[in-house]
Amino acid sequence: MPSDGYFRNLWRSFQKKPPEIPEQSPTPKLNFIPGAEPREKLDPWWWLVVAVVVLLVLLMALKPDPYWDIFLFVRDGLAITVELTVISFVFIIIVGLIGGLGRIAKNPVIHFIASLYVEIIRGIPLLVQLIWWYYAAPALIKEIGEAIHWDFMANYVANPMVLAVVGLVVCYGAYMAEIFRAGIQSIPKGQMEASRSLGMSYLQSMIHVVLPQAVRVVLPPVGNEFIMLLKDTSLVSVVAVADLTRRGREFMSAHFNPLTVWTLIALLYLVLTLVAARFISWLETRRKY
């Protein structure tokens, strides 16, 4: 398994610039892969982030009633949205990695289970899945608990946050598994063969040779999934999680001012996704080979 600073090195590989190689006079300079040159200048799309933030600040400062009041009301929902996204995403990466490895496994049983998972989950809308986890799963757990006379299960009380995370992870994990599978398969077979020929095990070769290279390939689609997840967390508002969207609905039903509430909520989501997008594109430029 990974040891002595594996993740630290992986992280560094996004931060370091390519080392300066002393020229050998007769050989022509070998350039990096076209398009992979590290970019030094600031990502130009930061202006949009700044513009949206300035707009938000102006709205709240110039018209504190209602904008500042709405913000104060929904800010705990904002925190829940961020929390839900980040926690789910960590588990999604883990599930996606396991699922992706399962999809390329030579063992037919593992391959079948992983493929079945992906095929089933991709065919059901996320909203339906979230509702199933919140309403159907607890009922199922209770029935099983009563059948086997296990009080712990029979008295199960649904925890909306936990079930929302489960629903998001199960659904997004299937998409992530496909991304990881494609990423791993995009690394030339010779890399694995060279690693195995040196006596490294399949797992060691995956961890130290294939996956670090696949990370670079999957970064753009994984970043994309993160932003989609951030937006899709708004669906949990129907299963009793007090996220940004649900808090917005609560404020609106008390004051009935849809225009101001939903404009502010939309801008808050926009700031989150724009910042996430800039972070991802910054990651993409920090690669050293």
């Binding site: 080392p19 070998l30 890399q191 060279a194 690693s195 040196l198 490294m200 670090p212």
Partner: protein, 245 residues
Amino acid sequence: MAKPIIHIENIHKHFGRIHALRGVSLDVKVGEVVVILGPSGSGKSTLLRCINHLEVYDSGTIEVDGILLKTAQNINTVRREVGMVFQSFNLFAHLTALQNLTLAQRKVRKRSKAEAEKIAMDLLKKVGITEKADAYPAQLSGGQQQRVAIARALAMNPKIMLFDEPTSALDPEMIKEVLDVMLALAKEGMTMVVVSHEMGFARAAASRAIFMDEGQIVEEGKPDKLFTKPTQERTKLFLSKVLQI
């Protein structure tokens, strides 16, 4: 006579309906340099890849350094004794030349970082590219990459080195720098099995040359004899095509 370090007996290999190896037997003694040549699709690369189990063969036996491959519980114990050099170099693209040499030393041989780096630098010096130790593969020429790949295999202190068309993907002016490294290795007494059409190398270094065609060994002998006085028609035909240029 000492026991051969590689003992191959009557192996067969199918790729779907293609019968790639049809009963190949071959013994290689310690310190021998065996060059295998033959037309494309003759099974020479497949044979080489069977020796370190990158290809699983259907029947027959292969014994490497006294370990029977089919029954070897841990194939990695055989692989760490057998270095392999590929046609397409296969350097780890995300690691520097130096890190390419140290990774397996640390993970498989369990050497310390300092020890692995010292061995790596000595080997990079041997193949003549110390100044590129911190370069990534994409920053190296083909010849340099292949020399790093040879050094990477040597870093594991293998008893046997396998070369799978090591110069076929190289520009002509870079072939010599790789062959020079291989020649030096042969002179040091390394046991080598080389799939290659480099007649010059075969003449200078090989103790035996083997001609393969259609999954079988057609003819074998001293390189000079095989190249100048082949006895089999198929060998003559192949050599006439290769040598006429």
